[in-house]
């Protein structure tokens, strides 16, 4: 009799536990898709040249990377944009000489965002690329001439 009572109580407990655990696990399955939908992306447009030796104070965090990669003596910040990118919503930033940069978030994982970057001029793609960024990683896109030097785009993301 006592055993039957115990079994009944255990059975009831297991049923309640199952009722509690199923939604928890369904939620845990859904969690990856509930990752923050927006990604804060920073785009800095830099003019690098050998005219003078000025390093823009707002480029201090990039100075080491720029110095180790390029032989320019001067880095001047032309534009600093912080964009909150939603999935598949392109953000367009006009830059110099009729060019614009279009950035689209095309994928997001726990520690990785995929961005499509297009540099356009008059509706024509000058560059079309897709990069994967993690927090703390920078992608530098440079080369086109600008003034006395070249233009470098520094792209990073925080999420």
């Amino acid at each position: 009799m006592a055993l039957r009572g115990t079994a009944k109580r255990i059975s009831g407990f297991i049923k309640k536990l199952a009722l509690f655990l199923f939604p928890v696990f369904i939620l845990s399955l859904a969690l990856p898709s509930m990752a923050p939908a927006q990604v804060q992306t920073r785009l800095r447009v830099i003019e690098a040249s050998n005219v003078g030796s000025t390093i823009d104070p707002s480029l201090r965090d990039l100075h080491g990377q720029l110095g180790s990669l390029f032989r320019y003596t001067s880095y001047r910040l032309l534009r600093d944009e912080r964009l909150n990118l939603s999935s598949n919503q392109p953000a367009s930033i006009p830059v110099h000489e009729g060019r614009s940069i279009e950035i689209t978030q095309v994928g997001l994982q726990a520690n990785l965002v995929e961005l499509r970057v297009r540099i356009r001029r008059d509706g024509t793609d000058l560059l079309n690329t897709q990069v994967r960024l993690s927090p703390g990683r920078t992608v530098l896109i440079g080369g086109p001439k600008h003034g006395e030097g070249v233009v470098i785009l520094a792209l990073s993301a925080n999420f």
């Binding site: 055993l3 039957r4 115990t6 079994a7 009944k8 255990i10 059975s11 297991i14 049923k15 199952a18 655990l21 696990f25 845990s28 399955l29 080491g64 990377q65 180790s68 990669l69 000489e97 009729g98 994982q109 726990a110 520690n111 995929e114 001029r121 793609d125 000058l126 560059l127 079309n128 690329t129 897709q130 990069v131 994967r132 960024l133 993690s134 703390g136 990683r137 920078t138 992608v139 530098l140 896109i141 440079g142 080369g143 086109p144 001439k145």
Partner: protein, 170 residues
């Protein structure tokens, strides 16, 4: 008396072995005081028993029967061990849970949870060294060079102006 003595003598061994019924025992006990032959025969039986029992009792006192224990232990060792299925089944039978068969939904839940969680547990997040930062790059205007530095955590896409560059606007 002789018939009586003959019938008693048949009962005497049963009486001696304490296997006689109450009626037979009272019959023998009434007969023995009046029959010397039967009385003597009973004494012979008692003497015989003593003669056999005494050395056996003495031997028993000295003997510890180690071989008996050895045989028992050997028997235990040789006893077939149950398989894990039998053990599990017996555990289920012993468990009060089995009476209600509640372990069936419990096991079903455990299996479902294992199936649901295993892809998450074993999902491998690729490291950056395994995957390139630049998935693709294309340009109809520039020649492109890609340089990735894991140490500096920086990737460079450098555009060289080629023969078909975008000038004159740039």
């Amino acid at each position: 008396m002789k018939d009586s003595c003959s019938s008693i003598s048949q009962l005497l061994e049963r009486y001696f072995d304490r296997q006689a019924t109450d009626e037979e025992r009272s019959l023998v006990e009434r007969h023995l005081p009046v029959c010397q032959t039967c009385h003597e025969r009973l004494r012979v039986l008692e003497g015989l028993r003593k003669a056999i029992k005494a050395p056996v009792d003495e031997a028993l006192k000295e003997e510890t029967f180690p071989w008996v224990w050895e045989k028992i232990e050997r028997g235990i060792r040789l006893e077939k061990k149950p398989s894990w299925q039998e053990s599990f089944r017996s555990w289920l039978d012993l468990s009060p849970l089995s009476r209600k068969k509640v372990w069936i939904p419990a096991v079903a839940i455990a299996i479902v949870l294992a199936l649901v969680t295993s892809p998450l547990l074993f999902k491998k997040t690729p490291s950056y060294s395994e995957r390139s930062v630049v998935e693709y790059v294309e340009s109809g205007v520039y020649n492109v060079m890609v340089y990735e530095s894991e140490k500096a955590k920086v990737t460079v896409i450098w555009l060289f102006e080629g023969p078909q560059n975008e000038s004159p606007a740039s």
